[in-house]
Each structure stands twice: as structure tokens, then as C-alpha cells.
């Protein structure tokens, strides 16, 4: 078993240091080492999106990234989505539109949706569905999720503060 490595990274705006084995993926380290259990394990093969985080502005499956790859990068997880003034508009809209049932896919969807709106503030419905196609949901059929993201985009476009 290889010796553990020290990794320094920026996590939700804070500089963070952690120890990990080279074989551990970022998802494991977030959940087990850093106790940030908001990112979920659904498949460990990058097919379900429940582990979605944002790395240097791009959405990524944290199960497909080795923890050591976080060195020097900017990582955003669900735990950093709400701001000092409360929930992010996306989180608020998910609640209003009942866009979650069991909620296990919700953190992943919120991160994918944030990554989308950060680069495309006025997406069309096909663009929203395309951007979220890497996040699986088995409970909702996606209808209310798409409505929530559409509504969040509209609210943000009208000048509301994100979080």
C-alpha cells in the first residue's frame, strides 16, 4: 500500500489540506476524509452524476477523478452552494417546484445546474435537458427539475442575487 500524499486544494472558497492514498477518488476523500457527505455515491463509474462537483468551473463526476488530481484546483461542492444570505436561487426553486422526491440525486443536479447557469444564464429547455442528461433521477421523471432550473434562470436573469 503506497504512502499517503498531502494534497492542497481550494474547496468552496477555502484553502484545504488533506491526506489521501493515491488510489482514492475525490468522492471518497470528500465523504470519508473531509466528512462532506453531500456528494453521493450512486455507481462509482461516472454514469449517474450523483457525485457531481465543479472543478475549475466545469462540472465533473468526483468518482472519476483521483483525489490527488485536486492539487491546486478550485473545487465546489453542494456544501458551498448556499451563501451567507441563505439558499442559492436554484435550491429555493427546487423546493418551490417540488423538484425532489427521495433527494439523493438533488445535490448532483444542483451542481450541474449551477455549472450550466454560470456559463449559460438563459438556456432553452433543450439546452437545460442536454446539460442535465448526465444526472440520473429515478423518482421524478425530470419534469419538475427542468421547471425549477428554468425558473431559477429567469429569476437570476431579472437581477436577483444568486445566494
Amino acid at each position: 500500500m503506497a504512502k499517503k500524499t498531502v494534497v492542497e486544494t481550494t474547496l468552496n472558497g477555502e484553502t484545504v489540506e488533506f491526506l489521501c492514498e493515491p488510489r482514492e477518488c475525490l468522492l471518497e476523500v470528500l465523504r470519508d476524509e473531509l466528512e462532506l457527505t453531500g456528494s453521493k455515491e450512486g455507481c462509482l463509474t461516472g454514469d449517474c452524476g450523483a457525485c457531481t462537483v465543479i472543478v475549475d468551473g466545469r462540472s465533473a463526476c468526483s468518482c472519476l477523478m483521483l483525489a490527488v488530481e485536486a492539487q491546486g484546483k478550485k473545487i465546489e461542492t453542494i456544501e458551498g452552494l448556499a451563501g451567507p444570505n441563505g439558499l442559492h436561487v436554484l435550491q429555493q426553486k427546487f423546493l418551490e417546484h417540488a423538484a425532489l422526491q427521495c433527494g439523493i440525486c438533488t445535490p448532483g443536479f444542483l451542481m450541474s445546474a449551477k455549472a450550466l447557469l454560470d456559463r449559460n444564464p438563459s438556456p432553452t429547455e433543450p439546452e437545460i435537458r442536454y446539460a442535465l442528461a448526465g444526472n440520473l433521477c429515478r423518482c421524478t421523471g425530470y419534469d419538475k427539475i427542468v421547471r425549477a432550473v428554468t425558473d431559477a434562470a429567469k429569476t437570476l436573469a431579472s437581477g436577483a442575487r444568486a445566494a
Binding site: 492514498e21 488510489r23 482514492e24 465523504r31 470519508d32 466528512e35 462532506l36 457527505t37 453531500g38 456528494s39 453521493k40 455515491e41 450512486g42 455507481c43 462509482l44 463509474t45 454514469d47 449517474c48 450523483a50 461542492t77 453542494i78 456544501e79 452552494l81 448556499a82 439558499l87 435550491q91 427546487f94 423546493l95 418551490e96 417546484h97 417540488a98 425532489l100 422526491q101 427521495c102 433527494g103 439523493i104 440525486c105 438533488t106 445535490p107 444542483l110 437545460i128 435537458r129 442536454y130 442535465l132 442528461a133 448526465g134 444526472n135 440520473l136 433521477c137 429515478r138 423518482c139 421524478t140 421523471g141 425530470y142 419534469d143 419538475k144 427539475i145 427542468v146
Partner: protein, 764 residues
Amino acid sequence: MAASTNGKTFKVIGTRPIRHDGLEKVTGRAKYGADYSLPDMLHGKMLRSPYAHARIKSIKIDKALALPGVKAIITGADLPTLPDEMATGGEGPVNLAHLSENLLARDKVLYDGHAVAAVAATNAHIAEEAVRLIEVDYEVLPPVMTVEDAMKPGAAILNPKLRNKEEGDKETNIASHLQFKRGEVDEGFKSADYVIEREFKTAMVHQGYIEPHNGVAIFGSDGHSTIWCSTQGSFAVRALSAAVAGVPESNIKVVPAEIGGGFGGKLTVYLEPIALFLSKKTGKPVKMIMSRGDVLKATGPTSGSTIRCKIGCTKDGKLVAAKIWMAYEAGAYPGSPVGAGAMTIIAPYNIPHMIIDAYDVLVNRPKTAAYRAPGATNAAMASETIIDELADKCGIDPIQFRLLNAAQEGTAQTAGPPYKKIGYVETLEALKNSPHYKSKLEGPNRGRGIATGFWFNIGMNSSAIVHLNGDGTASVVIGSVDVGGTRAAQAMVTAEVLGIRAEDVRPLVADTDSIGYNDVTGGSRTAVTTGAAVFAAAEDAVRQLKERAAKLWEKKPEEIAYADGVLTTAGDPSKKLTIKEMAKQFARTGGPITGRGSVNLRTVGPSFAATCVDVEVDPDTAKVKILRATCVQDVGKALHPSYVEGQMQGGTAQGIGWALNEEYVYDDRGNLRNFGLLDYRMPTCLDLPELETVIVEVPAPGHPIGSRGVGEVSIVSPPAAVANAIAHATGIRMVVLPMSPPRLMKAMHNKRNGTETQAAAAGR
């Protein structure tokens, strides 16, 4: 039981408050089973069979045990032997010997992925390395993968001890044969002008919950233990873990974590008893999480099936006879939902003559588990497509054809007493009047299909407690795990009865020590039955409020009225107390107020649903695009409409996946080839349009709110609706599920070349 409030207007029920657990779910703070950790915890992993059918000759664990960090290894031989008989568990009776053998094989492995050993180690990676060091010597046997192969004379036998009533002492793979009969079916067919007979094959599919199975167990040296896990039934986990691990049931506390989807697949146990047993052996807490591959290989999918369905009608569209033969895959142990399939296949119709033969058949596949209206979707694919074809032959609109034959109050059921008040006709009328059905569908390669579905809904046991707080707010404590928003609905029922706001009620899903016995969250029972228990508990609290006011005002409790959160008494308008004001007086009038409710509902209203889909079939790729989809469902009374719509949309989406892409692909050695979510292809956001919903409310008789079960029936009709839509788009009647591009392509190709036979049309 309180009198039905049918016809009464509600103030809170039917509104759409933000769910009480919403904040923790959108911030990632909600704790699901895999999010629990204890100090000094070990991690458990399973060794699983690579063979579909084999005898275990020996298991050598010494190399694995020697790996640093490994603390314990167990096999089936370490677990107590349980009786080969039925006991209570989950949604119904469970054979404990089969359950235990499924969790850890004894002398044989019966499917690719059947667990053979379990390792506990200081971390998950070491446990996985140890698993690879365990040496098992197998004697490989021929795999039996389809019901046809299993029922053939001379088939390899999975369980040499299995017997069924008809075959006497003969070894067999047929676990049971049920038959339902009414009238004289051969006479019935004589009076039919049109008869259609087809053979259908539906593939095995999985519930597909995004969260894999998990469990954290700690066995204390005083004999008391605690299990945290994601489950649909904490009391079922307690009972089944106790039996499998050989630990007294009353010494186990099960704490239900939040659950990331169940759909029937988390009504049983896989890891919890093993984690408990490993904790007992090592003296430390043990955590186990299943990999996605193991979830697909080794946890209950629902049955694939072969259904031969023959239905006849007069040229005026009157159904006269039905003859059905159905064989469902049970998997490695008996218990497919073929009985439910048989009881639902023609449930929406009044057919005077019928005979249904239903077979539960063992095959070398994982032991099947419940999946949302288990058995009914397979069945509806057969019956609803044949009925569509008969309607076409008669030149009658498909909704009208169903109305002509619709089951109503007093119609005989396939089994059991005649229907009480049901909402099938209302559901059909609502579909007829829906914006979707009224719209025109135009364009080449497009077609519209409808289908309907039936599901019983179960009642069973629920208990609830309502505490009144000193500030006029309340908490409601329930034992029903919340899979999709029921916690909020129960808070709303409490608020309705107490006359306060939903926001002023705190709902809590409690562990098995803190609340009375509750049957599982499944069978579409939670809103109805836990709702009835909560209603009773809140009414009990109101009764006590009236007693306290009576004490204060020196009146009799019968002279006190309670409405909208205010206590009054007739003839004296000066005497008035809000619940908030009364709460300040609890201490001096007798102490805190706690209301309790406990119910065991024997009969609950069944549900009907209807699906309408518009499809476009690509003539070159055979890809089916869903253009528009609507689900209509009779729910009796919707507690929280947003979450009722959510159930309807979810069932529709799963049904569409079942219709078009989902299937288990086994090779000729019996190994599962698509044990990941890329190739076990469930619908994504991009595969579906908006999902329209129409809620119908025909109140269920005898229920205080009139609710019917919500969760399941919406999955029953979509595959048949999609098949009917494809038929209207292409002229091809598909008789297989899924109607994936390769199969539809073959059928379209055969049709174009004029080589259409029954088999070719089916895409085989």
C-alpha cells in the same frame, strides 16, 4: 374509524407547502444510510459467485484472513440454519431459509453475483483486496435462464427439495401454479366475433434506485444492537436481520436513514444482517455499502415473463372471454409476483368468462423483489395491447371501448369480493377530456397510444403519535419511512385536524424503539394508512383539548366544540380559547397532551390510472421519441398535489424506460453483461418530454380523508401505451419488452420485406 369526510372542503390538505425536510435535502445535509459513520468502524465487502449455477465444493479463507487489516471472514456455514417455512416480513410472508441462503449461499450458488463470503476489514479497499484472496472451488452446473428452459422436461434442477402441489414428489423448477376461473371460457369464445391471441415476452428489469443498498450495524456486548440503513421498512429490517443473524428481535433498534429510492427493492434485507453478524463477531461497528454492479447482479429485479393472452369480443365491442397463460421468473428462489399479475391483468374489465393459469418459475437469476405494482406492468403489456387491437378491429375509439366494458361498483374482481366504489370510469372520462387527448397529432411516423392500469393498494398496520407543544404548535411522530414527500403530507393531515398551519407541525420519522409497529412504506399505503393513523392521533389530541377546556369552563366535554384551532362552547360566546392559549394551560389542567393513533386497514380503495403517449418512430434507426405523455390517476383525495404529481410522473418515466430500453442482458453462460448504469439504460432528462398529469378524485369509502393509494399504479400502463402508439405509427404490433431499436428495427425490416410472421412481428 372516523366517518368519511368525503365532500368536505379542506384547508391544508390539497395545498402545496414546502416540504419539511426540504432544506436538508437541497443542502446535502440529509443523512442517507451511507452517510453514517461510527468511531472505530470496520468496512464489510462480499465475495460473489462468478457462475450462474454451481455447487460449492470448498472455500479457503486463510490467505484472505492473513492480509493485514482483515478482522473477520464469514460464509454461509457461519449463519444459523433457518426453517424452510413462511414467516412475516416486508410486505408479506417470507421464507426465512431462502432469505438467509440468498444473503450467503450454502451448498449451491444460483446466480451470477450470489454472495458466498463476507469480509470485515479496517478499510473498504483492504476488504476488497481480501475478497479477491478467498479461494472457492466450484463444480459448475448448466445454467437455466428462461422460464421455457426451466419448465422443460429434463431441465437442470435449481432446488432438489422444491415441490409443487401438482407434480407431487417430482423434482421441479415450478414453485407454484395458480388458477383463476369464471364462467365457461370455451363457450365464451364461441360468441366472440373477433379473437386475438398473442404470446408476449417481457425482459427482467430493475427498480433502478440511484442509491445502492447500505447498512451500519453495531452489536453491543450487552446483546443490544443498532442498525442504521436506507430501507422502506425499519420493522422489516429488524425482524429479518434478527432471524438471519440469530439475534433476538427486541434487542435490535433500527434507525431508518433517509432513503435514496426504493420502489419495492428495499423492502427486504441484503447487507444489514451480514453487517450485524460481522459486528457481533468482531466487537466493532461494521459498515457495508453495495457497489452498483452488485446491486444489479444480486438484488431483486422484477420478473421477466412469458404471457400467452387470448381475448375475444363481439363486433359491438363487448368483451366476452379471456384465456391467459403466464409464467414469471422468480429468480433463484420462489416468489415472483405472478399472482398479482394474474389478479390485475383483466381487472379493469367486466368479462364474463375467463381462465388464468399463472406459474412461478425458478431460474438462475437473482431472487426477484417487488417493483412498483409488482407483476401488473408485465400483464398490462399483454392485455392492454390486445384490447387496443380489438378496439381497432371493431372501429371503436380505444377509450370508448374501455368504457363499454369498464369495471364499476359491483363488478366481480378476478379474486375477492366485488368492487366497492372505484374511479375507473372517471379516470377514462378525464383522459378523454385531457388537453393531450383532445389535441391533434400530425406528421409522418407518428402515433398515439393509450392504456390503462389497475393496482390494489394495501392497508396493514400503522401507528402515530401527535404531541402538542406549549406554544400551540405540534409534532407528529410516524414510523413510515419517507421515500418521496409523505412526511410533509402527514404534517398536513395533522395540521388539518388541529386547525393550524402545516408549517406549525414538525414531522419525525422515528426508529423502531420510538414508535409503535409500522408496516413498510410500499404497496401505496403510506398516505392512506399512515394518514389514517395520523388522523386518529390528531383527533385523540383534539379530544383531550376538549376535555381540558371542559375542565376550565366547568362544562361536559360533549359541550365543547373545536374548529380551525379554536375551542368554544355553545351558548356562551365569551368562552373562547385558541390552541395556543390552551397550550399555556396544559400543566395546570393535567399535563402534556399526546394523541395516539393505531390502525390496521383491512380494505383500502384500489387505484386506476391511464397513460396517453404520442411517439415518433425514426424509420432509419427505429429510435422511438416520446413527443408527449400524460398520466391520469384516481387518487381519492390528493394530500399534497405536487408530490402526488411527482409519483405519477415518476411511475410514467419508469414505465417508459421499461417500454423502450431497460432489460437484463445475460450471456449463454448465465453471466449478466450490463451490470452498470451505462448499459442498463434508464431514461435521462433528454429522453423525456414534460410529463403531464391529471389528478382524479373519487373518494375511497370508509377512509377519513377519502385517499386512495398513490405511489404505484402509474407504472402499469406506460409500456402498453407506448406499444399501442408504435402500432399506430408503424402498423407493427410489438409483443416484446423492451421495444428497443434493434428489436423494432428487425420488425420494421420484416414488415417492409413482407416477411411478417408472428415471430417476425415480435422482433425476434
